[in-house]
Structure formats: C-alpha cells, structure tokens
Symmetry: D2
C-alpha cells in the first residue's frame, strides 16, 4: 500500500469506529478468499495464517459448504428462524450427535445461544450459577473469554477489562498451569484455597478454563493438571466449564481440545469454527443435569442462524465422520513444530508454545513480534501475535491448508524473522 | 400436528437444551420461507406475523438480497473477515452513510460489535461508562435489552433477570412514560431525582431507552416525553442511548424510531433487521466525541459478518434510497390500527398499544392472549405475545407484506379472537 | 473566637484528619456539659440544640446515670466484656424487656452489634438478606443509614456516597412519602413496581425506612403511608426494617417513632440515645423468626460496652417506666411547633417540617440556614442544619431541656433568624 | 455452672439474639474485673487470657485510667461530643503525637472513625479507593478485618462471609506469607500477578494486611516478606494499609506491630486496646497526602467517645512515655514462648505460632483445642481458640499481667492440655 490512503479505505476512516483493529495492521481491502488464500482489491494474494482467529479452521469458502449454502438459498430455506424447529437445525443436531457426541460418549444437550463466543460463555456462567446457587466463578491468569460484562470478568487482559468502565465482579482469579514457574504446581494453590474454610475463596459455582490459552499467549496446560482441576471441581461441587471456542473444532488435533485427558466437562462452550464457514454460531454443550434454564430464560434473536446450521452440518460430515482428518492434523502439527523450532532457535531466549495446529513462538518482545508479522505481511502472509505483551508470534492456519501452501507460509514467516532480526542487529550496530 | 411426536421433532427433544422456546408454541418443523410466508415439512404454509421478532422486516429471502448473496458466494467473497477491510463492508458503509446517516443529519460513527443485540447494548453501556467516568445507567420499567450480564442489568423482566444467578448491578430503574398512570409525567420523577443531591440516584453515565418497548408490551412513549428525557440526559452530563434493536429499521414507520422527535441520541444500538435478511449483525452508532474505545478494546470474532454486509447494503438501497417505502408503511399502519381496534372492541377492558407496524392489543390476560395465538396458529398464522404477563397480542409482520396477505393474516387473527372468546364464554356458561 | 487560632485548637489542625466536621462550624474547645448546656475552655456557656445529633436525648451527664456509672467504675464493674454475660447486660435486658418491649407487645430479640448506628444497619441488612435469600434492599430518597459500604448503599446523600470510591450495590431507591409532590402517593409507585414482574425491581429482602428522615431534612412520613409500606413488605415477602437510630428513644414523642401506626417492624435498628449518656451503643431488635445469625456470624469487639448498659438501664427506668416523660414531650413539642411557625412566617416560602421534638424549618437556602446557625452560635446556641442542601434549620434539643432553657434557646434562634434576614435584606438593598 | 440454667442467665436466652457467642463457651455471669482477673456472680475468679480479644492490653480497670475517668465524670466532662473540639480529645492528640508518632518519625494524621475496628477498616478502604481512583483492594488468605460489608469482603473466613447474604466485591485474595508451604515465597506470586498485564488482577488501590493474623490462627509474617509487600505496593501505586487492630498497642512487643521492619504504612487502622480501658474507640492513621476525605465525608455519631480519649491518654502516658514497658513485654514473651513450647511438645504435630504476647499452639484439631480451653475454664482460666478450624489455642493475656499470675495461668493451661490428652488417650484405649 502507498502512504496515501486509497479511496476504498477512506470510508472506513470516516465512518467506522475507532474500535476497529485488525485492519490497522493489514491495511488493505480484501475482496475474495478461497481455502487458505486471501485476495485484495489490488489483486494481490496472501496466505492466511490468521484464519479468522481460528474461525476458519476449514479455510475460506469450502466448496462443499458453499454448494450446500447456495442450494439452501436457492430453495428459500429459512435464513432466520429464532429457535423454531427447522429441517436445517434438525439435520445439524443429527450430525452433531452421530459424529461428535456419541463417538466420544458425551450425553450433553446442545444450547444455541446468541452467535458469539462471549454469549456462549455468558450462558455457561449463568447456568453454573443457577445450577449451584453459588456466585463465584474461578478463572485463570491470561484467560480470554470475551468482553461482555459477565464474560469480561473472567478475562484476564487489563486492556479489555479497562473497557468495562465499571468494577468486574463474581470471578476469582487463579494461576494457570505453569504460571508460577517450574517448581510450583498451581493446582496445589487452588486445592489449598478450596480446602481452607478461611482462605477467602468462596465456594465456586464453576471452574472455567481453556486447555490452551489462545489469546493469553498459547499457554498449553498439561493434561495431568487439567485432570486435577477437573477432580477439584467435582470434589468441591463446582462445575467444570471448558471454553473450547478457540481451541476446539480440531485446532489442537482432535475435535475437542480436551479429548484423551480423562475428563468430561460439565459444560463446553464453542463458537468460531463451529459453523465451518466463518458464519456466526455459538453453542453451549451442557450435561442434562445442569440443563436448568427454563424456556427462553437465556434468549436472543439470532440463536438460530440457519445458514450456519447448513454449513456446520457439512463440516461435521466432511471432516469428522471418520479419523482421516485427525491424522492429517497430526502430520501438519509436526511440520509446524519443526518450522517454529527453527524460528525459536534464531533467538536465544525465545520459546515454542502451544499444541497441535495452535502453536507459536514467544519472542520475548511485543515490538519484535509485531515487526516480524509486518514483514511477513509485506511478503504475502497474514499472521498475528498474542500474549499479554503481544510477544507471541501465533500460527493459526486453516487446518485444511495444503502442505505446500503451509510450508510456503512457514518459509515466509522464517524469512521475515531473519530479515527483522538482521535489520535490528544492524540498527543496533549503527547506534 | 398429531399428539405423537414426529420423527423430525425427536432430535430436538433428545438433544436441544430446555432453553428452547418458540418451537414449543409452534410445534412443527419449518423448511422454507418466502416473503411473509413460512412452509413446514408437511407442506403446510403459514402467514408470518412474528417476522423473527422484527428481524425479518423485509420478509424472508428477499429476491434481490438473495441474488446478491448467491453472487457473493459464487465469487468467493469473504464470509468471515474479523474487522479487516473488505469491499462488502466498505460498500455497506457507503450506502449507510449516503442513504441513512447523511439525509438525517447524523454524524455518528459505526461500530460493528458482535452480531447480537445484547452485544451492541453491552458495547453502548461500556462506551457510556468509559466516556463519562460514571457507573450508573438509567433504564426503564419493562425495558428489554438482552440477557448477557451487563445488558441483563438493564432488562426489566424478572424471569430473565432470575437467570443471572448473581446480583445485577450498575443500573437504576425509572418508570417509563405512562407507567404511573395518566396523571403523572414520569419525566418529572426522573428530573426530581436527578436534581436532588440526596435522592440516592448517582450521576448517570447514560439514560437507555426504547421509544417503543417491544418485549415490554408495546409501550410507545410520547415524543414529548422522549424529548424531555433527552434534555435531562444532556443537562446532567449523561449520554442518551436509544436501543432501536426492535423498533428500528422501519418498524415504527421511519428508519429510526426516534425520527421527528427533535432529538439526536448520543448512541444508537441496532440489530435484528439491520442485515435485511435475518443474518446476525449488530451496530452501535456513536457520535464521534464518544467514540472512545481503543482498537479492539471491545472486540469479538464475528464483528465482521460479511454476508450480512452484502444483504444489508441491498436492503438500504432497495428500501431507503427514497421515501416510497416509508409511505407504504404509513398505509399499512392504518390498516393494522383499524383491524386491531376491531379486536380491542371485542373485549371491554382491552387496549390498543404500540406505534406504526409494531402494534398489538393488551387483552388483560396472558392465558387469553396465548389461546388466541394458538388458535391463529391452527389456522395458519404465526403470531406471538409480549408484555410482563404475555398479555399483549403483538403483530410484527414483515413490513413488506403485500396488503392482501396482510389483510388475510389480520382476518385469521380476528377470527381466532372471536373463536377463543366464544369458547371461553361457552365454557364459563357451562360451569 | 478570635481570628487567631488558639493554642488549644492548633493540635487539631496539625494532627486531626480533614474529615473532622462539626468543629469547623463551632470553632471552640468544649470542656464540660450538663443537661442542655455546654461550656467551653473560655468559660462561655451554650445552650445545646444539637444534642449529639439526637444521641443526648436525656441531656449531658444526667446525674442518675452519672452516679450509676461512677459506682460501676468504683466497684470494678467490667468495662469491656465482648458478648460474655455480665450483670450489667442482664440488668439492661431485664429493664428493656419490662419497660420497653412488653408494654408494646413486642417479641423481638435484642442483638448487640458493634456500637455504631451503621453497624446496626449493616447487621439488619445482612439478617434480611440471609433470612429471605434475596439481595435487594429497598431504601428511600433522602434516607441516611450510615457510611460503611453496606449501609452507604442505602444512604441517599451523594456527598457521602461519593466517598465510597466504588459502586454501591444491592439497594434500589424509591421515592419517600411526599417526594413527588402532593398529588402522588409514592406507595402507589412502590406497589406498581412490586406487582409488575417486568418492572426491573427484584423481589426485595427488605424495605428499610426512617419514619422521620433526620439527615434528609426532617421529612416525616404520614402514618398511613408507613402502614401501606409495611403491608406491601408483608405481601411481597420482604422484611420491614425501621431505622430508628435518630428518631427513636423518645425523639418523636414516644419511645419508638413508629408507635401508634399499627405496624410491627420485623427489624428495628437503634443507636444514638440508646445508652442514654452518649456512650457508643447500638441495638438490632429482630423478631424471633428472623433471628437467623449463627453465633458470632455478625461479630465485633465492642458489641458489649458495659458502661453503656449501665447508663442505658438507668435511662429506661428513669424515663420510660411510666407515661409522665411522654406527656412532657407532647408539651414541649407544642412549644417547639409554635416557635418554629413563628420562624417560618418570617420567610414566605419556608416550611415547618418534622414531628415531635424533631422539628425544623426549611428556609429554602443552605446559605441562609447556615448563616442563621452561625449567628445563633455567636449568641450562645449550638444548632445545626440538615437536608440535601443543608437548607433545614433543625432543632434537636435534649428531650429533658427545662422549659425555660428551651424557650431561651428558641428565642436565640428566632432572634438569629431576624438578624440574619435583616442583614441580608440590607445587603441586598445596598447592592 | 450447674446444668440448670441460673436465673441470671435466663434473660439472655429469652431476649438476646442467637448471634451471641463467647458467652456460650464461658457460661457464667461476670460481675467485676481487675487487672488480669475476672470475677463472676458466684464469687469465683478467673485469670483472663482472652483480654477482650486484645482490647484489654492494660488489664481491666487500670487504676490510673479509672481515676482519670471518674474525675472526668465528676467534673461533668463531655461524654459525647460528635467531632467537636474537646479538651479531652486535644490532650489525647497531644500525647499521641508526643509519645507515639514523633518518636517513630510518623507524620500521619489521626482520623476518629466510628468506634469499631470494622469502621476504621471501612474508612481505610474508602480512603485508598478515593485517593487512587482504583477499586480493587488486595487482602490475604486467613485475614480478618471485620464483618460490615466493605470490610467483610476483605475477611477470609467463610462463616463470616456467608453472613453477608450477598456477593462480596472489590477485594482480590492473595496467599499470605507461608501459605503455600516452605518452598514458595508468596510475595513472588503477588509480584508476578501485579507485573503481568494479563493476569486479571486489576491495579490495586491498596494492599491490606495484618503483620500477625490474630483471628486467622496467629500467622506471623516474616518482616522481609512484609517489606517486599510494602515495596510492591509502592511500585504499583497502591497504598499499604496495616490493620493493627489486634496486633497493635504493644501486643507484639512494640506499640505498632510493624516497627523495625523498615516500612511506613500509608494507612494504619487501630481499635481494640487504643482506649486502654476497653472502651469503644477506633483510629485511622493516614499520611497527609492521602488524607483526602472532605469534612464528614466519612462520618458517624460516635466518632468522638470522649471517655475513651481520657483513658487512652492515660494509657499512652503510663505505658509508652519511655521504653520500660516494652522491656517488660520482651521478658513476658520469653516466658510465654517457653510455656507454649512445652505444650507443643505434648503433641507430635503441633506447632508454636505467633509473635510477642500474641502466641499460641496449633494443636491440629479444633475439637482438641476446644476441649483444652473448656478444661482450662473449669480450672479458672479464660482462654480461646482461633484459626480456620479453631485449632489454635491462643494466649492473649493482658500485657500488664504480673509474672506470677501469668505463670499461674500458663500452668493451668498446660495442666488442662495434659488432662485433655490423657482423657482422650484413655477414651481411645477404651474403644
């Protein structure tokens, strides 16, 4: 982009709120997208390692979902149906039951909340409080659960918290796995406080956690730690809520991020990639005994986004009917780890973080991470940072990215890191 | 429907949460919809006087929007783009500026929040608190603003409030226009409390109101009262937030429900029909001086639902580029008033309520209102109730309903009322 | 006082917090007091129409209480006993039961809270919340209940509320009797909101009121209004808490301010004059069915101020064993009314307010009220203002003030008003 | 006491609230007290190792204070003076400045709050929030700060917290020194969370701590830990509040419990023994730059308990004008440690806890601790437990207890422990 603002961009500067954000770092106008590639108004194409922050796990405009949606439109299928029964919703539920819930031995009910992750989290927190008659929700350092008032109380980031303009209540913060360094099992801290009647920690309604903290900097909790937290929740009459909004839908290598850990969350929140196509959709999965809302007690106009049901059903049937997709993910995760280790080795203090297709490198400096991403963008790769100081370069490529595109993207990233580091050392030498 | 549960419905009973609601009253599976008509799996068609609770003001599957959306899909236009610049968003903003904001002399910025009304309300409340440094938001009796924790504090309904499972804070309740009966101007109550340093009403960050309370029972405030509230807000350093989620997008006869009242709200929340097609989309309009969020301070994955931008642009250009649609609305409102007066006359104590295409009859009994709607449904009309006791039969037909369909729907409603009343008087006589 | 700061006063300026207050208006050092008279370090004497804000209803250093206390000290009676049984506490309880509770048909239990009115209010609010399982307490405009966080939420004054530095929660404000002008019975407002399931007023744990709002400007509620509020509380499962801290102990003419109204509050809070001697002591009277705290669930080191039990017992036996004191109060109230009517007539818009020995004149200007009090002080009368703008000159003389002293004090007050008004009209004429 | 209820006790059962507590364990009626001895109605005497929970550090009815108070009464000195200047308050302030503040290099202002510790804590929390414009107060596990709503949020004990009947907000809990075991410096946990912008710990207004947690089980923090906390407070713009209500006034061996640690708290709260005589009195000491309340912004009727000023002045002059009393305390602390070590050795897992004249033994069982205290009471010693499970036998003898009385009391305690242990082992053997 030139330094002059193009005509296309002026409208955004004139009329869009200052709250706009990603567009500031990727300063162009995108016009189409397919699979793992984006194209802008100037005809330039980019590899997408952001994937709508994990909302596009199956890439842009997946052809099968696209066909199904066009068919639905052509047939005048319903677009908006509140929470009325529709054939599209029924078909989604059948698929979700058959291919997701049953094979994993889950008896959860599906609640269609307003189609945002935050709304699912709000519903989950309300359910837990209603079901237990308790107020306090335990959330963890560096957790991110949304920015509406209930969810924001559980979010750790001070920049987002500051936007509330009011005190955030009802959540007690505990250190996440690894937060206090290697010698300390933070589950001990939680256990101690739960068992001490004078700790000041009120009996919790729920313990709310991400198995991998996406926004928090790709902190991946140890399965043993998660199991202990689950056991503590059970022992103390609290519900376990796994927020699988970013880590779910295959991102960590399995449909749910908590598979294989020996736990059954009482509540799971899902959003982002659940529609498969990037369409707004959110779910709360809740065990029948905690499905305690009355009709419409938690409601919302868009709790039935029928278009999303159509694509979500295709996504499930296409990718989760058998184990082949999961195998592919394991391979790609290996490729990713290898590439990122190479990146990590360029910087003495940096650290590989995350799990599955949700990995990155903590480069120990938000500025550096930012420069690497900017250089990558100049070379045709869309990639972002995360973490408290934005110091983690985070790869969130579509899970369906073909291996050659994936490798190409990773090359651009490595090259961008090399360039940035050499420029920095030059500029340091020049001082 | 037969008393046996059809195969199609079993999946909902087995797997959908107890929070499901509308489907309980309209117990069939809908498969397609066009304009003002719905069709179910058995091939039966229904006139739609619910319109997705005012989310389908332009009817189902408007052909122009449908074509534009299919075209967008065919061309691999982006579906999900976070808040990146896209051509679709740019085109929507241009249209919204040209046809909506400029002609009404509004200088507001457009903030794309998470695509639910509640999210827009949460953002508006946060903005007002951040901009003023104050905590308290004034909301009104019978107001409905959503069920996430921040918005729920502003919602009056005790059933929804009870779902929070925690104390709702930060909102002070005031009586809406007419709430205390004819002799009392409730703006006097607010004024008295604002001007009294010892009233216990803390200086408010904002006054939040609907000009017509849709869920609250179709209470339409007098424009003079609204003007006074706006003046009080200004005089006391509070922002005026108009929640136009249900009453906006033409529902009351003009694009915004507050037009012609001599007020300029500092913040306007929109959702429901703003996409035109029933797709999830929400907006906060905010005057530039209160556009105080930093980048992503209020964020969310689906704050860019590109499909909705496509249809929303078509809706604006098709219906709001000139005054003809607004003229049609005036005619239809008259038809509606006439029919509902007839309904009201059937019952001595009943009362016509609302404004524009958002009118109904308070039949003084939730049971009666419910029976009338059930009878109407048996005769092919989808219609719902509202109000604290669900005692208001509420007509929310698509604004585009052809006059003959509209009259036909109203006939079914009147006939349903007659049947219900005569059955009730028979059963009373029989006792 | 001279404009130079006396040596005695320097220590206060040097070391006492800026929160000090009354001493700013009465800028001398008091050294002794007897009955209704104060004496300062310069040997000047003052008639006391402030009476420790109604904490000295029986005057300073009542000789019988003084003797009893000196005897207690001489005999090494306990000064501090936590909530252990002591003979002094037992004797107080016997007297309180015999002379106060039984004759009035009250079955309340006595809870000794920390010895401040605020602590009694905190305990009462906690009890009501615990007993009902509800959160919301209804309090009234212009109410004053203390400045600790729980009680402060119920206090209306914005200056005090601002001191919290945090949002005050858990209280909903309703208009007090007469607040909305003559045409409106504010009990109707409360009834409407309690009965409307969508009003946004959550089911209250309690309704908390003063029968005469002392700090709020001597607003005396009509007994019929109070009866209606009591009935509304009962009908809606809320406890009725009468805060009788300022209005109790004979101040309105009977021991409790609510006698003869046909109500039995579930909880009564008392402090100020309950010790009789100005010693710190507070009580919560609670009906047995709501006496739900466990042992020490609400506790505090000074919940047994044995010296106060000694004097409180004497006060009850001396003044409330028969009806003679109450008859005296009726006479004095008449004298007060007559004098204040005279004051009120000096100013066209002013208004006589209050009840019993708790009356004053709203002079419609905080500055004027302040000048009158300052002029009175120069002439040997200690008297203060109250109300949202401090516009009410408030007489709170000891109830035991001899009639000649009382008349003398009232003369000084009337003369001060005359002087102030004539100075003001001179200065206006001079402009 | 016999199993029949004596006449004296019936009145308490009939009329005193169920909240009464200590009287349940010490079931007799006390009638007089002198120094370290209590006498009951039956003429029995007891050594007092409870000392009004550290409110009677100088014993009961100290003869010099008693004489001064009788003189004050005889001379008609004021009993109640709101916050007017009195000679008694002036003399107290002079003494406090001369003998307490100046020698310790403290420039604090003295705020007289309502005369309860909780009120002082409420004022301190409000001051910190007002001074910093922040909401959150950091308090520690097992801390006890009172039971009014603001202070209760900072108190750890779940039994007391449960009495609130409402969610407690505005406080974040951190582990106290030693809470997480020997290997972990909990100041590291606090530092990590304060320095991490995404920890979810909002910038605190204050850090509130006791140097020895009296109610929490005699946990004595290491001076180095306290110094680190003080440094962290300063580094992060938070005020340091030391709650010296139980540990102050000589209890740990010096007037303030934090002397010699190299810290200067921004705010200190005092109550309990500050009057010297067990009379209700509380103070907030605040550095001039944080003395930000306006006149009466935090107020209360009993903020001037003149009798307490009289005795408090005598206490300061008698005990703190030179270093001799402090030397005595050191000797007695040694005696105490020696005796308690003997007690601790009787039980393999038990542990000596506390500091100075505020020591005890954690016997690892609330039942056992309770039995020991009950046996001691049968043998003429009043002593209580503390800690989350009441498992700590706590010695809080008057600091002025003569050495022989002190040793006698300790003998009774050791003997009671021996008896209890032997009975327990007999009953175990018998099973």
């Amino acid at each position: 982009m030139s330094t002059e603002t193009s005509a296309e961009i002026k409208i955004f500067e004139r009329r869009e709120s200052e709250a706009r954000s990603y567009c500031r770092g990727f300063d162009t106008v995108f016009t189409s997208a397919r699979g793992s590639e984006l194209t802008d108004a100037a005809g330039r194409s980019y590899i997408d390692f952001l994937a709508g922050c994990s909302s596009l796990n199956y890439g842009h405009n997946d052809p099968d979902m696209k066909i199904a949606l066009i068919e639905h439109l052509t047939d005048d299928g319903l677009a908006h149906a509140l929470d009325l029964h529709t054939d599209a919703k029924g078909a989604f539920l059948e698929s979700f039951e058959t291919h997701i819930l049953k094979p994993r031995g889950l008896d959860h009910r599906v609640m269609f909340t307003g189609p945002t992750g935050a709304n699912a989290v709000e519903a989950a927190m309300k359910l837990a409080r209603k079901a237990t008659g308790r107020d306090t929700i335990i959330a963890f350092t560096n957790g991110f659960h949304g920015v509406t008032l209930g969810a924001l109380a559980a979010t750790g980031n001070s920049y987002h918290r500051g936007g509330a303009g009011i005190t955030l209540n009802g959540v007690t913060r505990m250190p996440y796995d690894g937060y206090l360094g290697d010698g300390i099992d933070t589950a001990d801290v939680l256990e101690k406080m739960l068992e001490d009647a004078s700790s000041g920690l009120d009996k919790p309604a729920a313990i709310l956690l991400e198995t991998v903290q996406g926004e928090g900097g790709l902190n991946a909790a140890d399965p043993d730690w998660i199991k202990r937290i689950a056991d503590l929740a059970k022992a103390h009459g609290a519900l376990l809520i796994v927020d699988d909004i970013q880590a779910g839908c295959g991102r960590t290598g399995s449909f749910f991020s908590f598979e294989g850990m020996g736990i059954t969350p009482d509540i799971v929140t899902m959003a982002k990639s659940v529609s498969g196509f990037g369409l707004p959709m959110a779910l709360v999965l809740v065990r029948p005994e905690f499905d305690v809302f009355g009709p419409a007690e938690h409601n919302g106009t868009f709790r039935g986004n029928t278009h999303a049901f159509v694509t979500a059903r295709v996504a499930i049937e296409k990718f989760w009917a058998d184990g082949s997709f999961q195998e592919e993910l394991a391979e790609k995760a290996l490729i990713l780890t290898t590439a990122l280790q190479e990146l990590a080795e360029m910087l003495p203090d940096s650290r590989l973080k995350g799990r599955g297709l949700m990995q990155g490198v903590d480069v120990r400096s938000g500025d550096l991470a930012s420069e690497i991403c900017a250089e990558a963008f100049r070379n045709g790769l869309v990639i972002e940072t995360s973490g408290p100081e934005d110091q983690v370069v985070k790869v969130l490529a579509p899970l369906t990215t073909p291996q050659d595109t994936f490798r190409k993207g990773l090359s651009i990233l490595l090259e961008a890191a090399r360039t940035t580091l050499s420029q920095n050392s030059n500029s340091i030498a020049a001082e």
